[in-house]
Amino acid sequence: MNARLRWRKLVSAFMLTMTGVCAVVAVSVLFFILGYLVFHGGRSINWDFFTKLPTPVGETGGGMANAIVGSAKLLFLASLFGVPIGFFGAIYLAEFSGSKTAFVVRYAADLLNGVPSIVIGIFAYALVVLPFKHFSAYAGGFALGVMMIPITLRSTEEFLLGVPNTLREAAMALGASKWKTIATVIVPAAYRGILTSVLLAFARVAGETAPLLFTAFGNRYWSPGFNNPIESLPHMVYIYAISPYEDWQRQAWAAGLVLLALILIVNIVARFILARGVAVQRS
């Protein structure tokens, strides 16, 4: 009996230690990734990286200025398309809709959220690239925007529903119409949460490569306007990492570091904004 108890305690201690090991392994992967990227990326990053165009194959040096600007353009278009739809859609869900319509919209959003990013790319290709007959920043921005919609919509809705009903009632008791209540009371009260949702959606699509492969396509030169094929940072990381040239691989590390730094900073800022409390702000 005693031996059995000792055995059980031993098993318990062992298994619990193992769970701790699992957690340490999982978290250390992050630090490993960060450390490796900072080490390799930091060594290869230089001023040229931010200011110069890519050099022709075989020539060393050059940078990714066009990809950085391209990513900014694509993300601008994506936000322009995805954020309003997500934001106003969420207002409809939280403030206006009946339960049946809300179910349909939520279901569609969740479905969209689960679609693999490469399939979103096909969708954007069929919808934007084929009619225009060429790859463009518009198509890439559309693909990324579609991915932003469900993330913005669902979490914005959560935060709007989290605004206490007493605030709505108070505003209406003062004679404000419904849209005035929403615009001046509810949205300002939930603005931290909404900002967090938008930032997280932004960070999520900033690193997407797959939907850009056959929408934005890539471009080794400056891409004027929005109607031409355009380069993006994640796409550069991909192309350069699988290339056989050492100098390109070096730049892939640098681009990866810049991309990851951007995404992690946006993530941390977003969480920080939220952690400061969903305090009710005056508009």
């Binding site: 309003p84 490469i118 399939v119 960070a203 992690l264």
Partner: protein, 324 residues
């Protein structure tokens, strides 16, 4: 869920006066945006279906079960890619599920909140790392390690299994599976931890009071109580693994072949779309690729649906599920 539309008085006001107030306009405008979401989703399914009609007419169901992928003869079969997708995802889950659930148990049951919350924060950050970064790490770290350490070790120890035979190039099913595992672990941890934390305290206390050790209370009471939710997290992870493109494309080897060995290079659905879409010539070719996208979409659609259902079940089911 919904806020009742103002008060009875507001409801009884006429449409015109609500219109003048701006309420009706606001409702219509926001409705248009909400409807756009539904419209886009419907359009996505419709486009995928319409744009892949040719191979459906030409090959029918044989598309899913033939191996031949020959763009020149315009013969297309998806079996190699489906095989690659399933094998890499299975390897990923085999590695990620024990690790992820172990870590979730640690975070939910053992670690004090002061440790658990920061660790969860780091794990959330890990989930935000873009897939192309995992791909880069796969190319420059996992592939060399696979070639020099993992493959020789596995061959020496488990080499009698057909799974671990044949030449190891570094790229292949196993490498892709490992990279995918690293990618999906954060999802499993986050969701499972959430579910484990929602198990009522008295379940643990009752088990401990009956004389079980800490581990027995966790493994035989708390985990079974939360098992539907944990299953949900696994389905979620599987859906992500199946649809993952960049990281897999960079390490799987991109060779359309079916091999019993995990060391062999292969191909996955997402990877073939990524590699061949822009180069595809001819309608049947490009539509076959779109049809592959449709297959991928349906797979993830079903898995996501199952995941949500399971998580709903845990949320709605009260006590009585734990079989102590």
């Amino acid at each position: 869920m919904n806020v009742p539309s103002a008060s009875p008085v507001a409801d009884s006001r006429s449409f015109i006066s609500r219109l003048r107030n701006g309420d009706e306009i606001a409702r219509i405008v926001t409705f248009i945006f909400a409807a756009t979401v539904v419209l886009l989703t419907v359009l996505l399914v419709y486009e995928l279906w319409i744009a892949s009609s040719l191979p459906r007419q030409k090959f029918g169901f044989a598309f899913l079960i033939t191996k031949l992928w020959d763009p020149i003869a315009e013969q297309f079969g998806a079996l190699t890619f489906i095989y690659g997708t399933i094998v890499t995802s299975a390897v990923a889950l085999l590695i990620a599920v024990p690790l992820g659930i172990g870590a979730a148990i640690f975070l939910a049951e053992l670690a004090p909140q002061k440790v658990s919350d920061p660790l969860q924060f780091f794990i959330d950050l890990l989930a935000a790392v873009p897939s192309v970064i995992y791909g880069v790490l796969g190319v420059f770290i996992v592939i060399p390690i696979m070639r020099t350490v993992i493959a020789p070790t596995l061959k020496a120890t488990l080499g009698f299994l057909p799974l671990f035979q044949g030449p190891a190039y570094g790229v292949g099913f196993l490498t892709a599976g490992i990279v995918l595992a690293i990618m999906v672990i954060p999802y499993i941890i986050s969701v499972s931890r959430e579910v484990l934390l929602s198990v009522p305290r008295d379940q643990r206390e009752a088990a401990l009071a009956l004389g079980s050790t800490r581990w027995e209370a966790t493994w035989k009471v708390v985990v079974p109580f939360a098992r539907t939710g944990i299953m949900g997290s696994i389905f979620l992870a599987l859906a992500r693994a199946l649809g993952e493109t960049m990281a897999v494309t960079m390490v799987i080897g991109n060779t359309p072949s079916i091999s019993g060995s995990l060391f062999a290079p292969g191909y996955s659905i997402a990877a073939v779309i990524a590699n061949e879409f822009t180069e595809a010539t001819g309608d049947v070719y490009i539509q076959s690729l779109i049809q592959l996208g449709l297959v991928l979409f349906l797979l993830t659609f079903i898995l996501n649906g199952l995941a949500r259902l399971l998580m709903l079940l845990t949320a709605s089911r009260g006590s009585g599920t734990g079989r102590a």
